[in-house]
C-alpha cells in the first residue's frame, strides 16, 4: 500500500512540476514583455506598465515558486518511502530485491538507494529538488526578473527526471510475490568510499543545474549584464567542490577496491564525471573575465550549457550502458529518454543563443596578452581542448562500432599521450596567470614576478635528473615546482605588502590578505592542491615499480628496497561475506628493520561467490605506498599469489584533494563588505544588487 502511495506521489510531483514549469516560463515572458513595454512607454512619457499583466505575471511566478517547494516535498516523501522499504527488507519491490539483502549492513542498505538505476534517479531528483528549493529561497526577492525563468528551467529538468521515474524506471515497481531474500548489493559497491563518493558526485552534477538555469534565465530575460555571473559564481564553486571531492573519492575507491594498482583508468564513467569538471573549471575562470572586463559573454553561457549537457550525457552513459565499463552495471531502456532530452535542450539553447547574439556583444577588448585575462583565456582554450580530447576518446569506441561494426577501444595510454602535454601546458599557465595583473603587465614587472619562481624551478632540475634520466617526469616536476613557487611568492608578497603598509605582524598580515581577498587566495590554495595531485600523478606514472609473485609461507620478495614476507592465510565470516586475508610482514631490505604488517584481502560474498572482490593491503607513507593485491591461493594458504606495487607519492593525491576542498571553502567564505552610503542603504531599490554581491 505504502509503495503504491510512493509511486502516486511521483505522479503527483510530475503533474505539479509540469504546471510549475509552464507557470514559470509564462510568468517570466509576461514580466519581460511588461518591463519592455514599461520602458518604451516611460521613454515616450506615458503611464508605465500594465497592472493586470504585471499582477498575472507575479501570480504565475509565485505559483512556480510554490511548485518547486511542493515537488521537493513530494519527491522527499517518495524517497523516504523507498528508504523505509530498503531498511525493512521489502523484497516485493523489484528495486529492493535487486539491490539489497537481509544480511546487508544497515549502512549499505541506506546507501543502496544510489546503488541501482531507479533509486539513483530518485536520489538525483531529490537532490535537484533540494538545490532548486535553496536557489528559490535565496534569490526569491533579489532576482525577480530572472527567477521565473530559473524556476521554469529547474522545473523542466525535474520534469525530465520525474518522467523517467514514472514511465521508465519506477523505483516502486512490484514483483507480485514476496521473495524470502534479496539478490544483494553489487559487491563492488560495498565499500565506504562508495557510500560517500556517489553522493558527492550527485551534489556536484545536480548543483551545476542552478548556474545553467541562471544562464538560460539571463538569455530569456535579455538581462545579460554582469549581475547573473556574479550571482552564480558561488553557486558554481560549491557544486564544483563537491564534484572535485567526488572525483577524488572515486579515485580512492578505485585504488582501494578495484585492485589494479592505480586510481584512474580513463574509464568512460570516470570520464563522464571528469568532463563537466573540466568545463565547469573553465567557466569558473572565464566568468571572472566577464565580471572584470565585460567580455566572453557568448563563451560563458556556452560553457555552462556545455557543462549541463555533459552532466546529462554523463548520467546517460552511466545509466544507459551504452559505453561498457565496470560502472555500467545497470542497463535499462532509459537511453532514448536521455537522448530526446539532450536533443531538446541542445536545440532549444542554441536557438535561444542565436536570437540573443545582439545582446551578447563584449564591452571591451583584451588590452594585452601579457595580462591575467590573457592567461585565463589561454587556460580556457586548454580546458576546452582537453575536454574535446576526453570526449573523443570516450565516445570513439561507440562511434567506431556504429560506423564499422567493430569496436575499437581507446585505452589509458592514448589519453595520457594526448591529454598529458595539454595538462602540462595548463600547469604552466596555472603558474603564469597569478603572476600577471589585469589589463597589462609590463616587461619590468614580468621580470620581477618571474625571476624567483623560474630560478627555483631551474635549480631543481639537476636534483630531479638524479632521480630519473627520463625527461618527462623531470619537466613535469619542475613545472610543479615552478607553480608551487609562484603560489608561495604570491602569499609572501601579499603578506609583506600588508605588513609594510599597515605595520602588522606576519601572521596578522597573512590572515588579513586571506580574509580580505578570500577569492584570490582560496584560488591559490586550490592551485596548490592541484599541484600536489600533479606530483602524485607524475610519481605514479613514471616511478611505479611492480612485481607478480607466488610465495609459500615464510618466503619473501624484494621490491624497491622493501622485503615482504608471506606469513600465512586466515579467514573470517562477516554478515554477508567471507573475508580471506593474507598476512605479510614488511621490512626495510637494506637495514632489515621491521616496518609493519600488510593484509590484502579477498571478500567472497554469499550471494555472488563467483565475483570475489579485492581489498588491497596498503602501507601508506608520504614518500610511497607499498600496495599488495591478493590474486589467489592454493590449498589452505600454503602458497599465495600476489601483485606488489610500490607507488611513489600517491598520498599527495589525497592531501591535494583535501586542499582543493579547503581552498574552495576559503573562496566562497563571505568576506567583509563596506557599509553602503546612507542613501543607498535607505533605498528600497538596491536589494537586487545587494544579493548579487552577497552571492558573489
Amino acid at each position: 500500500m505504502i509503495f503504491d502511495f510512493g509511486y502516486l506521489t511521483l505522479v503527483l510531483a510530475l503533474a505539479v512540476c509540469a504546471f510549475g514549469m509552464a507557470a514559470g516560463y509564462w510568468g517570466g515572458m509576461l514580466e519581460t514583455r511588461g518591463t519592455a513595454t514599461a520602458a518604451t512607454v516611460s521613454r515616450k512619457g506615458g503611464p508605465s506598465g500594465g497592472p493586470l499583466t504585471a499582477s498575472l505575471s507575479h501570480r504565475l511566478t509565485e505559483s512556480s515558486f510554490h511548485s518547486i517547494y511542493a515537488v521537493s516535498v513530494l519527491v522527499g516523501i517518495a524517497a523516504v518511502i523507498l528508504w523505509y522499504g530498503l531498511l525493512t527488507d521489502q523484497f516485493q519491490i523489484s528495486y529492493i530485491w535487486n539491490s539489497s539483502e537481509r544480511s546487508l549492513p544497515a549502512f549499505y542498505k541506506f546507501a543502496a538507494i544510489w546503488g541501482g538505476q531507479a533509486g539513483s534517479l530518485l536520489f538525483w531528483t531529490l537532490l535537484l529538488g533540494l538545490f532548486s528549493t535553496a536557489a528559490a529561497l535565496t534569490f526569491r526577492d533579489s532576482q525577480r526578473t530572472l527567477m521565473p525563468y530559473v524556476n521554469g528551467t529547474l522545473l523542466a529538468t525535474l520534469l525530465f527526471f520525474l518522467v523517467l521515474l514514472v514511465f521508465s524506471a519506477n523505483p516502486f515497481e512490484q514483483i507480485g510475490v514476496v521473495p524470502s531474500d534479496g539478490r544483494g548489493l553489487n559487491p563492488l559497491l560495498q565499500n565506504y568510499w562508495m557510500v560517500i563518493h556517489p553522493v558527492m558526485l550527485y551534489l556536484g552534477w545536480v548543483g551545476l543545474s542552478v548556474p545553467f538555469a541562471f544562464a538560460v534565465a539571463a538569455l530569456m530575460s535579455k538581462r545579460l549584464d554582469r549581475r547573473w555571473v556574479r550571482t552564480v559564481r558561488r553557486w558554481t564553486l560549491i557544486p564544483w567542490m563537491f564534484l572535485s571531492a567526488g572525483i577524488i573519492m572515486g579515485s580512492q575507491w578505485a585504488y582501494m577496491e578495484l585492485g589494479w594498482g592505480g586510481y584512474w583508468a580513463w574509464d568512460p564513467v570516470e570520464n563522464a564525471s571528469f568532463l563537466p569538471w573540466l568545463t565547469a573549471t573553465a567557466f569558473l575562470h572565464s566568468v571572472i573575465i566577464q565580471e572584470q572586463r565585460g567580455i566572453l559573454k557568448v563563451w560563458n553561457v556556452t560553457l555552462i550549457w556545455l557543462t549541463f549537457t555533459l552532466v546529462i550525457l554523463g548520467t546517460f552513459t552511466t545509466r544507459s550502458g551504452i559505453l561498457s565499463s565496470v560502472h555500467s552495471f545497470a542497463q535499462s531502456p532509459v537511453g532514448p529518454y536521455f537522448l530526446v532530452f539532450l536533443a531538446v535542450t541542445t536545440i532549444g539553447f542554441l536557438l535561444l543563443l542565436y536570437q540573443r547574439m545582439p545582446y551578447l556583444q563584449g564591452e571591451n577588448e583584451i588590452d594585452s596578452i601579457s595580462s591575467r585575462e590573457g592567461a585565463f583565456l589561454a587556460n580556457n582554450w586548454l580546458f576546452a581542448g582537453i575536454a574535446f580530447v576526453v570526449l573523443w576518446g570516450t565516445f570513439y569506441p561507440m562511434f567506431s562500432e556504429i560506423l564499422t561494426g567493430e569496436r575499437i577501444s581507446v585505452a589509458a595510454p592514448w589519453f595520457n599521450r594526448v591529454a598529458g602535454p595539454l595538462f602540462l601546458l595548463l600547469f604552466v599557465l596555472m603558474g603564469v596567470g597569478p603572476l600577471l595583473g589585469w589589463r597589462r603587465t609590463g616587461a619590468k614587472a614580468l621580470r620581477r614576478q618571474f625571476t624567483w619562481p623560474v630560478a627555483v624551478a631551474l635549480a631543481s632540475v639537476p636534483f630531479l635528473l638524479i632521480t630519473s634520466r627520463n625527461v618527462f617526469p623531470v619537466v613535469g616536476f619542475s613545472v610543479c615546482i615552478f607553480v608551487a613557487a609562484t603560489i608561495v611568492q604570491e602569499f609572501a608578497r601579499g603578506t609583506i605588502a600588508r605588513m609594510r603598509s599597515r605595520g602588522e605582524t606576519a601572521a596578522a598580515a597573512l590572515w588579513g590578505v586571506m580574509r580580505r581577498n578570500g577569492r584570490r587566495y582560496g584560488g591559490y590554495v586550490i592551485h596548490f592542491g592541484i599541484v600536489l595531485i600533479g606530483v602524485a600523478i607524475i610519481g605514479n606514472e613514471f616511478y611505479q615499480s611492480t612485481t607478480h609473485v607466488t610465495l609459500s609461507a615464510g618466503q619473501s620478495v624484494e621490491l624497491s628496497g622493501y622485503t615482504l614476507t608471506y606469513t600465512g592465510l586466515g579467514s573470517e565470516q562477516r554478515s554477508n561475506h567471507t573475508e580471506v586475508r593474507a598476512n605479510l610482514s614488511v621490512s626495510d631490505t637494506a637495514s632489515g628493520r621491521f616496518l609493519g604488517q600488510i593484509a590484502p584481502r579477498r571478500n567472497i560474498y554469499d550471494k555472488t561467490p563467483d565475483q570475489p572482490t579485492s581489498e588491497v593491503g596498503l602501507r601508506m607513507t608520504p614518500a610511497e605506498d607499498v600496495y599488495v593485491i591478493l590474486n589467489g591461493w592454493e590449498g589452505d594458504g600454503r602458497s599465495a599469489t600476489f601483485t606488489v606495487y610500490v607507488n611513489p607519492l600517491t598520498m599527495w593525491m589525497w592531501v591535494g584533494g583535501l586542499l582543493v576542498v579547503l581552498g574552495t571553502v576559503v573562496s566562497v567564505w563571505p568576506h567583509p563588505r563596506p557599509a553602503r552610503a546612507g542613501r543607498e542603504a535607505a533605498s528600497a531599490f538596491p536589494e537586487g544588487a545587494r544579493a548579487g554581491q552577497a552571492a558573489a
Partner: protein, 133 residues
C-alpha cells in the same frame, strides 16, 4: 487500496491547492524595471570599485608598473564616477552631484575609503568593524 487512494487524494488536493493558491491571491506587487536597472547599475559600480581595489593591490605587489597603473586607475575611476553620477542623477535624493564642484571625486573617495576601512578592520577584528559601521 482505498486508503492509498484517499491518502493520495488528500496529498494531491493539498499540493495542487498550495500551487494554485497564489493565482487567486490579489497582490499589487509588480517587478519594477527601475529597481532592476538600479540593481544593474549598482552591480556595475561595485565591479568598478572592486577592480580599482584589485589594481591597487596588483600595483602594490609589483604586478603593474607605475605608468600602467596611472593609466588604468584613471580609466577605472572615471568609469566608477560616471556610474555614481548616473545613479545619483536617476535614483538619488534629488540633490544631485555637481561634477564641476568636485563632489563626484569626493563621492568616489568615500566609496573607496569605505572599502579600505573594511580591509583594515578585516585583519584583526573580522567583520566587527563593518557591523559597527
Amino acid at each position: 487500496m482505498w486508503i492509498t487512494f484517499i491518502l493520495t487524494g488528500l496529498v494531491g488536493v493539498a499540493a495542487v491547492g498550495y500551487v494554485v493558491w497564489p493565482l487567486f491571491r490579489r497582490t499589487p506587487f509588480a517587478v519594477s524595471h527601475e529597481r532592476e536597472d538600479l540593481a544593474d547599475l549598482l552591480t556595475r559600480k561595485e565591479v568598478a570599485l572592486e577592480a580599482i581595489r584589485e589594481l591597487e593591490f596588483d600595483h602594490r605587489v609589483g604586478k603593474i608598473e607605475d605608468g600602467d597603473f596611472e593609466r588604468f586607475n584613471g580609466i577605472l575611476r572615471s568609469r566608477a564616477m560616471r556610474l555614481i553620477e548616473h545613479i545619483e542623477a536617476y535614483y538619488g535624493s534629488g540633490e544631485g552631484i555637481n561634477i564641476a564642484t568636485g563632489q563626484l571625486d569626493e563621492a568616489l573617495e568615500v566609496e573607496i575609503s569605505g572599502r579600505r576601512r573594511v580591509e583594515e578592520a578585516g585583519a584583526d577584528e573580522g567583520g566587527i568593524g563593518l557591523r559597527a559601521e
